[in-house]
């Protein structure tokens, strides 16, 4: 057990104590801070396990009975969880008091965090599945405690329904593994043959993929994440979907016993569709939190691209690159967790200050809320993949992996990798477009509503949470190379990728990204050029609008900025527009215009499925006449069929 194990248990106990305190009347703020302390302790344990070479507690085992433990991969995810949860809880300390159902949400937050820790530390099937279900149910409960209107209930129902339907895949995959005694033992499933391997691979892909938000299984994500309170949205988007990635890595990379080529290609294609689809539908959203939720789908897609490339490298025998691509995926897991948490917290702060999350209702907030606005700007630049922030580091490594994956035969695999490479580049450019829009609408320009003009920065705890995360975005952007060798060593079947520990990303045999040097160069050059420009004698003038006065009605909206792209991609996005003109006596009295872009997956996949399901239910309903004699006839028929089967020897 050791000291570290005791510390881990103490951390969990502190977390639970924080949850109890939060439920106590008048102890909410204290309880949330105690939770943060518990997460901090767990994070330290995670980092200690990740950097040490000693696993903690029990190893994975196929026997029934609760077992907990921590190895390096779990340690990494636990550390990422702590790094995002501690600032989130600091934020929640000042965010929660005064909100609806505050004590219930505060206690359920601790429960949710404990369930995440449970999934990461479970070492047997039953414990894993129990915490997995809790992880799904607890945020749903917290959302329902915080908000009670019908639309929220609908969103939560869709979330539970889709994640449970898809989540059946997790049960199938894990129970088949358990049946073959293959939990933690890759050779066992290899002995069971390719049939079992294929079944487990596909079931896990569907099960964990649903929870991670892969397109087309993502439909719950943009519904459920925006309705939660800000700190829960942050944890769900930042961490819950990453825990699904953790499960995917466990099954597909560690327990499958083989790395089939089709799985790598499938992951690349899923990643490509999720990345491009996620960012495309994010672009056409007006609601900031919905937009951020779609971006989670995009980033999970980018992670899948890294994982798929890793599998293809392993298949081609390029184990060094397999480890590098794996590290790229894990680095993006950490980076996305950090900046997405930051952005969701920022959105929560904006909502508090302005009372709306519609992008067209914000504006000019950078000047009025410098802390929140500044942190949000850093997060936006990070998610848009701009150097020298952390998003660029992991995207650069993923781009390198895909580019190198395109070097290997067969040609079909090279072409898929090349297409994924182009898709990732387009995704980065689309994310840039999207976050220029968000930054412009929310932070820059003139306030679009009177409430924006009076907005001020929130309380200290909320500011501190966001500032911490923004600092992490910068730090991981400057020195990504310090953790990449550790992440590469977590890849299965690779003793190491031959990477040296240094601030920049230096992959032997190809170009390097010296992050720190680039950041310093950009800072020094910018400062030098500012000096060169000297003190500006700037003439104030109204912005040029062809001689018209620039009135608020001329201001650009979210829809206007994305218009060129929507026109170009009309065939994919299929926007629906409604234009109503009210005339009376030859005069136009009123014009109303509304437009929205439905999700293509919803219209092409889910709506027909729902219609077919309802139709089938209507047919099945005819069997239920409510007449006792009909049911007696059914029973008689069943007995007769049973007897006939027994006669023919079908039952053996």
């Amino acid at each position: 057990m050791g000291v570290l194990g005791a510390v881990a248990i103490a951390g969990c106990a502190t977390l639970a104590l924080g949850g109890l305190l939060a439920a106590w009347p008048g102890r909410l703020a204290v309880g949330v801070v105690v939770q943060a302390a518990g997460m901090l302790v767990l994070g330290v344990v995670g980092i200690a396990v990740l950097t040490g070479d000693q696993a903690l507690g029990s190893p994975f085992r196929s026997s029934i009975g609760p077992a907990f433990g921590l190895d390096q991969l779990s340690g990494f995810f636990l550390a990422v969880l702590a790094v995002t949860a501690v600032p989130t809880l600091l934020f929640a300390r000042d965010y929660l008091p005064g909100s609806a159902g505050e004590r219930g949400v505060g206690a359920l937050t601790a429960g949710f965090l404990l369930s995440l820790v449970g999934v990461l530390t479970a070492r047997d099937v039953t414990t894993f599945l129990a915490f997995w279900e809790l992880m799904t149910l607890l945020p749903a409960a917290a959302i329902l405690v915080a908000k009670r209107d019908a639309s929220v209930r609908g969103a939560v129902y869709a979330y539970l329904a889709i994640t449970h339907l898809g989540g059946a895949g997790v049960w199938i995959a894990l129970l088949v593994l358990q049946h073959h005694g293959a939990i933690g033992d890759p050779s066992a499933l290899a002995a069971a043959g390719t049939g079992a391997q294929t079944l487990v691979a596909i079931a896990a892909l569907i099960g964990f993929g649903t929870k991670a938000g892969f397109i087309p299984l993502h439909s719950w994500l943009p519904r459920a994440h925006p309705v939660a309170p800000a700190h829960l949205s942050a944890l769900m988007s930042g961490m819950m979907i990453k825990v699904a990635i953790y499960g995917l890595i466990r099954v597909e990379f560690q327990w499958l016993g083989a790395t089939p080529r089709w799985l790598g290609i499938a992951l690349l294609l899923i990643g490509l569709v999720s990345a491009l689809g996620g960012v495309l539908w994010a672009l056409v959203q007006h609601d900031l939190k919905r937009l951020l939720a779609y971006h989670s789908i995009e980033n999970v897609g980018i992670i899948a691209l890294g994982l798929g490339a890793s599998l293809l490298f392993a298949d081609a025998g390029a184990h060094r690159w397999a480890a590098i691509a794996f590290a790229a995926a894990l680095l993006h897991v950490a980076n996305h967790a950090i900046f997405k948490t930051l952005l969701f917290l920022g959105a929560g702060a904006f909502e508090r200050a302005v009372g709306s999350l519609d992008l067209d209702h914000l504006g000019g907030l950078l000047r009025r809320m410098p802390w929140t606005g500044g942190a949000f700007l850093v997060g936006s630049m990070a998610i848009a993949g701009l150097p020298p922030l952390n998003g660029f580091a992991s995207e650069w490594l993923t781009l390198q992996s895909l580019l190198h994956a395109a070097f290997y035969r067969p040609v079909a695999v090279a072409l898929v990798a090349g297409a994924a490479l182009a898709g990732l580049a387009a995704t980065a450019a689309l994310a840039l477009l999207c976050f220029v829009k968000v930054v412009g609408l929310a932070l820059l320009g003139a306030p679009r509503r009177p409430q924006c003009a009076d907005a001020t920065d929130p309380a200290l705890g909320m500011r501190a949470g966001m500032a911490l995360l923004a600092a992490l975005c910068v730090l991981l952007g400057l020195v990504p190379g310090l953790i990449v060798p550790t992440l590469a060593s977590l890849a299965p079947g690779a003793a190491g990728a031959g990477l040296t520990r240094q601030p920049g990303l230096l992959v032997p045999g190809t170009g390097a990204y010296p992050a720190l040097a680039i950041a310093i160069a950009l800072a020094v050059l910018t400062a030098g050029l500012m000096r060169l420009r000297g003190s500006r004698r700037a003439a104030p003038a109204p912005a040029w609008a062809c001689g018209q006065a620039l009135v608020p009605e001329l201001g650009w909206t979210s829809a206007a900025f994305t218009k060129p792209l929507r026109l170009v991609l009309e065939g994919v996005l299929r926007p629906r527009r409604v234009l109503e003109v009210v005339r009376s006596g030859g005069m136009v009295q009123k014009i109303t215009y509304s437009g929205h872009v439905p999700s293509l997956v919803d219209t092409l996949l889910y709506e027909p499925t729902i219609r077919a399901g309802l139709r089938a239910a209507a047919v099945a309903r005819r069997l239920q006449t409510g007449n006792v004699r009909t049911y007696a006839a059914y029973l008689l028929g069943l007995v007769l069929v049973g007897l006939a089967c027994a006669r023919m020897g079908i039952f053996g």
């Binding site: 580019l403 477009l433 003038a541 620039l550």
Partner: protein, 305 residues
Amino acid sequence: MSALAAIVQLLGVALAPLLPGSIQALKARLQGRRGPSPWQPYRTLRRLWGKSAVDPEGTGVVYRFAPPVVAACLLAALVIVPVAGRAGDFGLGHDALVLVGLLALARFALAAAAWDTGSGFALMGAARDLMIAVFGEALLVLALLVAALPAHSTDLRAMSAAASAGAIWSGPAHWCGAIAFALVILVETGRQPIDNPDTHLELTMIHEGPLLEYAGRDLAFIQWAAAARHWVLLLLGAELFLPHGRAFGAGVGLLVMGVLGLCAALAVIETAEAKMRILRVPALLGFGCVVALAGAGLWVGGVGA
């Protein structure tokens, strides 16, 4: 040798405005006009340097920071791109994908500044620029993929060296990459038929749109950055896709010829081609992507070697 290369690289800071200048001069000649001298961009920069800046009402720190950030990105890019396969050791590496990131950062700074002014024309230009960049960036990395295949590396020095051998010119893969990169040059430098650098009509502007509000030294920085974009892209085109040797002296000579040839080609295209409808640009770039992907497939399949 690397010290010499570093000097040539830094010469780019001064020489870059000559490229758009000579394209304009040549274009005027081709169109039967006398036109401006190739040194006109320098005169423009000097004139702008003496003027005062303009701050539209309500703009803040993003608007003021954007011009130096854009120029700093292009300065870093200038140092990353080698000359004739050689480069000084500035500590910034010579990676092709880092270059893509720096160009994206410059684009972000200008588009965010457009939002800060709130001017409809600036935003119109920024929206179009970013829309085209979506397809342009995909095309750029695919063209770089084709160029990286012989070297198995994204280090621009290695890419240039691997393409200097004669055998590569006989394969179709290299030429597929060259076609794709030619389109990249058109997109990134904002030349016809994608964009019209001479336009004075706000409604047709793409790259010029976000600059509308800037004046004085701010505008000088951005104008220089536009010229540096020409320098970076044409240099890459010449040393990755046009014939070049391994020796430095001959390499620089061939490079000058290559860059001037590309300038002439741009002038000819601008004379012969009208600006295309903006909504048709993605189709053209998509065609480029398919060609580049085909090139990569041909190389991996063994046809290009």
